[in-house]
Assembly symmetry: C2
Homo-oligomer: 207 residues x 2
């Protein structure tokens, strides 16, 4: 299981600083959607230039113009780009075409999809490299949220998936047991007093 | 009925040039999602600085972190910010809270929502200023696409709506007859040989 850090910061400078701290412990460096909207794709280029050996994940959450958005993100240096599972199939097909052209990959983010198992299988058939079983920041803040539903859906879908929804040191073992390809940690790393130590601890918890 | 130009260009320079050409004929200037992702919110700031008398519409298509994304877009100069109708209610509520704080507005983009009438009413009750009955660029490119379904859903919902889905000089009268608050034209303006003339012609077609 790979470890991905989701950098939900708002400036390229903060992202570069965080990436420098945690890169030794993670496989995938994600630029969060608010960061990309705030700074533009130059943030992706800056992170890839600083970490050419890491997989750079641009969380575009594309809903339309799939081929165009993926193309400009890959051209900017992204290795993986997200499209929303709530997008139409033609948007996902377009994004996959851009990924094929660049020799890179599309990840379909299932945030907001009610039947994640069915959609996971559909978009995998359309060429997604993997799906993201994802509860967003707003959903995590809702009363009664737990990771269990996402874990079950990941296990049931039987397609490659990452898991994102508040993964931390207490839950990462259950994520690995559910068979995730990638565990995504955001606040557990960037919100820690010592992000490098937090990332190292998560890395050590993966068997 | 107001006229909105959707600027689906990829650089701030191109957006400034297009806005300067068409501003005399439009009420609302929209920065498209690919433009914002490519350039960041500085593009919004540049357009608002150049056109302080126009309503600046930032098509963020927010799916998560509703309050945060709307807040940074309003701070950058946006007057209207979009949230996706496929987002959870908590995301829309957060974005509306940011709009209230800034004295600005949230538009809910119904792209990808299967029952647009029901969702239009729900998000209007949550505080959206209006909804966007929207077929995306990818959907418009699908075989058999027509504007009629969107027009019917707008008429049926009986809440304030804009209409976006390839509005042009042939269809703008039907958009007004359906009761739209705003007609959104993209390619019909930016794809024209003379964008100013195309915008003027659309403006003249509104009674």
């Amino acid at each position: 299981m790979k470890l991905q850090v989701a950098m939900d910061v708002l400036t390229t400078e903060a992202a570069l600083e965080l990436a420098a701290q945690v890169a030794p412990y993670v496989d995938i460096i994600e630029l969060g959607t608010p960061l990309i909207k705030a700074e533009g794709l130059r943030a992706v280029t800056a992170i890839k230039a600083a970490h050419p050996d890491k997989i750079v994940f641009a969380d575009l959450k594309t809903m339309d113009a799939g081929e165009l958005e993926a193309d400009i993100a890959f051209s900017a240096g992204a290795d993986l780009v997200t499209v929303l599972g709530t997008a139409g199939d033609s948007t996902i097909i377009g994004a996959v075409a851009a990924a094929t052209k660049h020799g890179k990959g599309i990840v379909v983010d299932l945030i907001g999809v009610s039947d994640k198992v069915t959609r996971a299988r559909e978009v995998t058939a359309l060429g997604a490299k993997f799906v993201e079983m994802h509860a967003g920041l707003d959903e995590q803040a809702e009363a009664g949220f737990s990771l269990d539903g996402l874990l079950n859906q990941g296990e049931t879908a039987k397609v490659p998936f990452s898991l994102a929804g508040g993964v931390n040191i207490k839950t990462i073992a259950s994520v690995q047991r559910a068979g995730a390809t990638v565990a995504v940690a955001g606040g557990a790393i960037y919100g820690a007093t010592d992000p490098a130590a937090a990332a190292a601890e998560l890395r050590a918890a993966i068997i």
